[in-house]
């Protein structure tokens, strides 16, 4: 298994989103208080109303500014709203989900990582190691992964709808000795099929002929045998390869 690490850019963006959310939540809490105080006067609200009521907004603010990351990263399995929006997730070094202790450590270390402003310490630190770790990730033994980054489209999706008539019938394909083809040949086929949507027909035709020519020779076929449909031939080879692999 391999993981794609999140870069400093997307991590900073996630942090920014989280900060915006926390600021909005703060406003939602403070606005009614400001209104009430404005209407009734501070002292009356503060002393006349139950003193315990004062604790409610304070606890709310503490939750937002003190334990926001702890709460979300624990309950959402290594994600905060900002990270979720960007498809980031915190994992432990071994690829395991974070546990509470790791979450505590990496977020306590924010106190230093955020110094002196805008996460300068953490940002510089993450540039200096190959796992993009800020100090909190080092102490907690965590990595931040980008779950959606650079997702590749499976080849199946690209050959699912053949563009024209077949080059070879499935029975004939089944008889081919695919061991004659090398790893580079398959790589060439894959690259061609992936690039095909972006190519103009002329280039595609020329390229498919260039790639298919040597393959035909090695498989003991002639261009006539595949009715000169090189593009379809490469597609069918890919399909056949995958069909055999699955069996």
């Amino acid at each position: 298994m391999t993981y794609t690490l999140a870069g400093p850019g997307s991590r900073f963006l996630a942090l920014l989103l989280d900060s915006i959310l926390r600021t909005l939540a703060t406003l939602v809490i403070l606005l009614p208080i400001v209104l009430v105080v404005g209407l009734t006067g501070f002292t009356q609200w503060f002393q006349g109303l139950a003193p315990w009521l004062v604790v409610v907004p304070i606890v709310g603010l503490v939750l937002i500014w003190g334990v926001y990351f702890l709460l979300f990263e624990t309950l959402w399995n290594g994600q905060t709203p900002g990270k979720r929006m960007l498809g980031l997730r915190v994992l432990r070094d071994q690829g395991l989900p974070v546990d509470f202790r790791a979450v505590v450590l990496r977020n306590v270390m924010r106190l230093v990582d955020a110094l002196p402003w805008l996460y300068a310490v953490g940002g510089i630190c993450s540039l200096l190691n190959d796992e993009n770790k800020r100090l909190g990730d080092m102490v907690a033994g965590t990595i931040v992964t980008a779950e959606r980054a650079g997702e590749l489209q499976p080849l199946v999706a690209l050959v699912a709808s053949p563009l024209g008539p077949r080059a070879l019938e499935p029975e004939d394909l089944a008889l081919l000795d695919l061991h004659q083809l090398q790893e580079e040949d398959w790589y060439a086929i894959e690259t061609y099929l992936k690039r095909r949507p972006e190519l103009d027909p002329g280039t595609a035709g020329r390229l498919s002929w260039q790639i298919a020519g040597p393959l035909l020779q090695r498989l003991g076929l002639t261009p006539e045998r595949v009715s000169n449909r090189f593009d379809a031939f490469l597609e069918e080879l890919a399909e056949e390869y995958q069909r055999r692999e699955v069996l």
């Binding site: 298994m1 391999t2 993981y3 503060f46 002393q47 003193p51 315990w52 004062v54 604790v55 304070i58 606890v59 503490v62 003190g66 399995n77 994992l91 070094d93 690829g95 395991l96 989900p97 546990d99 509470f100 202790r101 505590v104 450590l105 306590v108 270390m109 924010r110 106190l111 230093v112 100090l135 080092m138 102490v139 907690a140 033994g141 779950e147 650079g150 997702e151 590749l152 489209q153 499976p154 080849l155 199946v156 999706a157 690209l158 790893e183 580079e184 398959w186 790589y187 894959e190 992936k194 890919a238 390869y241 995958q242 692999e245 699955v246």
Partner: protein
């Protein structure tokens, strides 16, 4: 339940990854609890298939896209299937019963250093407090003035009620959050090789010494300490614990021994986190005491001192003995709470292939 019915047919090779994806989406969205036992077994089965398929696909040229998809699925499923159960209540109980006191005892040296540095600070601070110039020189301009005001406040009649009852709920919340913040800072600054942590402890000690002198000079020593000790005993212990956690991290950085510095840091961090979490838990009752008991003028001084003595005795009895009873040892496996030197030795042996 129609889903289960369709699952009974052998899944088509191409469909099974879609099925795994669907199961994973549900597990990630609604948690494992929302799934039936059959679905979980199915997910485990599909995970193993995907994993073996992935290792096969890695040896093949074709095709990067499929490989990428399998890799993502396996990684996600691994995360879901191998996560530890999320049981906050059970883990909190075992943390308090075993893990926290055991970690404290295993790392008592760091705790002792934190205590010593604080005492040293207080020993320096106390005589310095007699001179205003020296106080300002040690803590910055205006410090002597502040000390003086603090003592003044306690010397006026009725001043012992300096925290009016309607402000107590807010005060306790603020005290608790602020203390936890300072404790967290003590751990975080461990990354400076422990220097930052030592400075926090030192400054705390100096302040204690200075204040002690200031209130004695003003003749309100007893009134002041009666206000401070009920919560101070617990609070100070929490500060020592947090300081110890920072010192552990600093120690691992400076003396990683046979380990890579990174590994030592991680190991120390995992242990240090327990001390910090314990400290944070202690700061809850401390903050409540500080707001609702310590400043109450109706409570006689003697009662406050007795409370402090009892709280201190109970706390240290707990830290020094909890989790040591034979029944507790038998009911749960021993926890790996060796001090750093212990880990280093274990690790060295493991690397050299020696028996532990």
């Amino acid at each position: 339940m129609t889903e289960v019915a369709t699952n009974q047919a052998t899944p088509q090779p191409a469909d099974q990854w879609d099925r795994l994806e669907e199961l994973l989406r549900r597990a990630e969205g609604h948690g494992l609890r929302s799934m039936t036992g059959e679905e979980l077994l199915e997910m485990g089965d599909l995970y193993r298939r995907a994993a073996s398929r992935l290792s096969f696909a890695k040896s093949r040229p074709f095709d990067a896209g499929q490989r990428d998809r399998l890799n993502r699925l396996v990684a996600r499923a691994y995360g879901q299937l191998y996560r530890t159960a999320y049981r906050p209540v059970t883990s909190l109980r075992s943390f308090l019963r075993e893990d926290f006191p055991a970690t404290f005892r295993a790392n008592w040296r760091f705790f002792a250093v934190a205590v010593l540095v604080t005492i040293l600070g207080a020993a320096i601070g106390a005589p310095v407090g007699r001179s205003e110039e020296a106080t300002d020189a040690l803590l910055g301009p205006g410090a002597a003035q502040e000390m003086h005001q603090l003592a003044e406040r306690h010397s006026q009649p009725g001043v012992r009620n300096w925290l009016p009852s309607e402000e107590r709920p807010m005060a306790s919340t603020l005290i608790i959050t602020n203390n936890i913040r300072v404790a967290a800072m003590a751990l975080a600054l461990g990354i400076t090789g422990g220097v930052g942590t030592l400075l926090i402890l030192w400054e705390n000690g100096v302040l204690l010494g200075l204040i002690g002198t200031a209130v004695r000079t003003a003749g309100v020593g007893v009134d002041f300490w009666a206000f401070v000790v009920p919560h101070g005993v617990i609070e100070l212990t929490a500060v020592f614990l947090a300081g110890a956690s920072g010192l552990m991290i600093g120690y691992a950085l400076i003396f990683p021994g046979a380990l890579f510095r990174r590994e030592a840091l991680k190991l120390a961090g995992r242990q240090a986190a327990k001390l910090l979490m314990g400290a944070a838990l202690l700061l809850l009752p401390a903050g409540l005491t500080e707001a609702f008991f310590s400043p109450v003028p109706q409570v006689p001084h003697a009662l406050k001192f007795i409370f402090a003595a009892l709280a201190g005795t109970a706390l240290y009895a707990y830290l020094l003995t909890a989790g040591r009873s034979p029944e507790a040892e038998a009911s749960s496996p021993p926890l790996p709470a060796e001090p750093i030197a212990g880990w280093l030795e274990t690790e060295r042996r493991a690397r050299l292939g020696e028996p532990a």
